[in-house]
Amino acid sequence: MKQTRNVLADGTSIEDLVKVDTREIQMRALSDHEIYNLEMDRVFGHSWLLLGHESEIPDENDFVVRDMGSDSVIVARGKNGQIHVSLNVCPHRGMKVSTLDAGNTPIHKCIYHGWAFRPNGDFLASPVEKECMHGKMMSKTELGLEQARVTLYGGIIFATWDHEGPSFEEFLGDAKWYFDILFQRSDKGLEVLGPPQRFIVRANWKTAGEQSAADGFHTLTLHRWLGEVGNYAKSGEEGGADLSPEMYGVEVSSPHGHALRCIDLGRKIRKLTGLDPDELSVDQKLEALPPPGVTREMLPQLKRNLSEDQLKVLVSMPPQVGGIFPNVLFAFVYIPQADGSVLGLTLLHAYVPKGPDQLEFVNWILAEKDTPPELKEKMLRQSIQLFGTSGMVEQDDSDTWPHMTVAARGARGRKSTLKYQAIYETSKPAGWPGPGIVNEGFTKDDTQWHWWLHWHELMLANV
């Protein structure tokens, strides 16, 4: 039985979609309906999925409607402030219980036959209590909305349908040490600056997912304009359109498919201070260039919440972009400004699968809760101008993924392979204090390859 469940209708085994020896992926993985349907159970049914941030639903009974893979869920704050994630499907006749994007209600009442549920998913009642419209075969406790397992991490809401699977900490594994530098560094944590932008890209979710697992190479060509005009172009002691200096750093990956590109801040700090960054202490570097959303007044918070080793990474080689498996991109980027200063931005994306050839791009823009309002406003404006719907950087990404998806439908194209053959021959830099699979130097394919290996592992394991 196990054998046949891992063979596609045309006889191809899932095992063979990934050529481990030569680091290749069969491109049909980007277009195939059968693979997509399996992914919804095996990948999205067994991973922790990003649904939003608790600051979107600050008050009791607040809710937003989001997606876990191909399923709609209600993310609601119930009694005692607890956050619940309920399958947005009425157990009666399958109607979508909430047809809204967001709101506040103590009772989610299905408009079809009136079954009513609390924010925690408990079945409250059907109309005409004395007639017991829901019958007597099942008790009320059996008729609640299906509950996902929920965790909050730095206020970010993650949920999974896998109640027996790894804890969120186990899921993050070694990568947690780095993610803590981003998400757990301040006393009050992050908050969203508004609801997320949402738009449809006619591309398989994995085109965006694998790119988020720290594709460093695409910066050079797809985002080449950054070197042609604007503040990167003029900043260079390197000059011109050469973005390759931005491609050196440290890349971290994990057996769970998470990835982080840690990019050297040395050149920026040198430019801001006129001093050799190697001669500066951690404190001096923090003063010179505080991380995104953090002001100099907030620096003591970082020292309270992070270890010395984490601070060392934060001030020299911070994680700036990367992914949380399977479909999340984070960006904690340092953007050079026209006046020579640097503005940090903080974003999260989820690439929600909407069929084998469609994804919904969900873009949250965040800041630290303690970030002063004027700085929040600056971060918000520049995030909108560079990332997400109209963002001058990411509009090039979203126009690329559809082409790959179409190519993966071709009779020859589907048998072509994606190649991840640029392999690190270095290791972690001397004295690097962090855990995980760590390599330094010019960007390579390893982090994305590890993303695919975990995808493969889940596709084979959960049968």
């Binding site: 508004g194 080449r224 909108i384 979203s398 126009d399």
Partner: protein, 187 residues
């Protein structure tokens, strides 16, 4: 949520209705038609000459909300566009002054159909409040499908040295989830 306040175009005071067919109305219509044809012809530098230097250009998010909460369906915290003159000129520079603005190279073929134009005076001398409907069709590459972007423009036009300039544009889109992969085009 952010504590910052966002000016909505609802704050623009609408005064007297400018009659359909009047000289002023026709000048506004001429401006909107000329603007649409410049954008559709990808004459972005010429288009940018129509912008006032204190331009505010924004495209709020939309959310699906119940009938009783329609005001809350327009989100002006995070938006799709939230630009000023300087940042719009930055976008124009990327599209016209680089060789790698791939999201619009090769460019989309677009039509901006502008209708239902209503003009009124504002509290400010020389400024007009203009509401119009926009249906933008966008064709890319060899796809036979058009991306449709529909919405209501809420503009402020201002006479500067006898010429109309765009001083404020807010576009209230109809989709909560946009059906186009980016807004690398101007609305």
């Amino acid at each position: 949520m952010t504590a910052t306040q966002h000016l909505s175009s609802a704050d623009v005071q609408q005064g007297e209705v400018v009659a359909i067919g009047s000289d002023t109305y026709n000048q506004v219509l001429g401006f909107l038609y000329r603007e649409a044809s410049l954008l559709d012809a990808i004459s972005l530098k010429e288009w940018s000459a129509l912008l006032a230097t204190d331009l505010v250009y924004s495209v709020p998010l939309r959310q699906t909300r119940p009938m009783a909460q329609q005001a809350a369906s327009i989100i002006r915290t995070v938006q799709h566009y939230h630009d000023d003159y300087r940042s719009i000129m930055g976008r124009v520079m990327r599209l016209t002054g680089t060789k790698s603005a791939w999201a619009e190279d090769p460019p989309s073929r677009t039509r901006r159909l502008v209708t239902n134009v209503q003009v009124s005076t504002t509290g400010v001398e020389g400024e007009l409040a203009v509401v119009s409907y926009l249906l933008l069709t966008r064709s890319r590459f060899d796809s036979p499908d058009l991306d449709l972007i529909s919405g209501e423009r809420r503009d402020v036009l201002r006479y500067v040295a006898g010429e109309l300039k765009l001083a404020r544009r807010e576009v209230i889109l109809d989709q909560a989830v946009l059906g186009t992969p980016n807004l690398a085009i101007f609305l």
